[in-house]
Symmetry: C2
Subunit: 84 residues, 2 copies
């Protein structure tokens, strides 16, 4: 299944707790769209969030975010993972 990195920019009020909650909601919703959110990274000061997921397509990845908490990404980029 394709893998995607998404980027959320200038998100207001990013905290570890709020993101953990949003991610938990993604996980609850994702099966409906055939998506698997894997990891995320964030910067609270800049309001930047990166999410890595497996999804059938970009739209499915965004649909999970939209339904789970409404915070869709600014960019969704299909990626391959580099070898270590």
């Amino acid at each position: 299944m394709p893998r995607y990195m998404d980027i959320h920019k200038n998100v207001k009020g990013v905290t570890s707790e709020k993101l953990a909650d949003a991610h938990r909601r993604d996980l609850e919703v994702q099966d409906k769209y055939g998506v698997k959110y894997l990891k995320y990274w964030y910067n609270e000061d800049e309001g930047t969030v990166f999410c890595l997921c497996e999804a059938p397509n970009k739209e499915a990845a965004q649909a999970v975010h939209r339904e789970a908490h409404g915070g869709v990404a600014d960019e969704v980029i299909e990626v391959k993972e580099g070898t270590e």
Copy 2:
């Protein structure tokens, strides 16, 4: 040690092989700067590359890329990693 996600945009001629080679050179150089490149993700068509590393600061992360292959990132963002 702080963790950083960097983004390289519009990189020309990105291939799996070229990136694996560039990453290998990062790994060879990184100890000199106290940096540890952990993973990377890329899109060959768009020429986008994300690198995740641990580094004492942004400049050290960029210094490794600069010395290893010259391909410094467009953005380097300090990140925390989300809980699973």
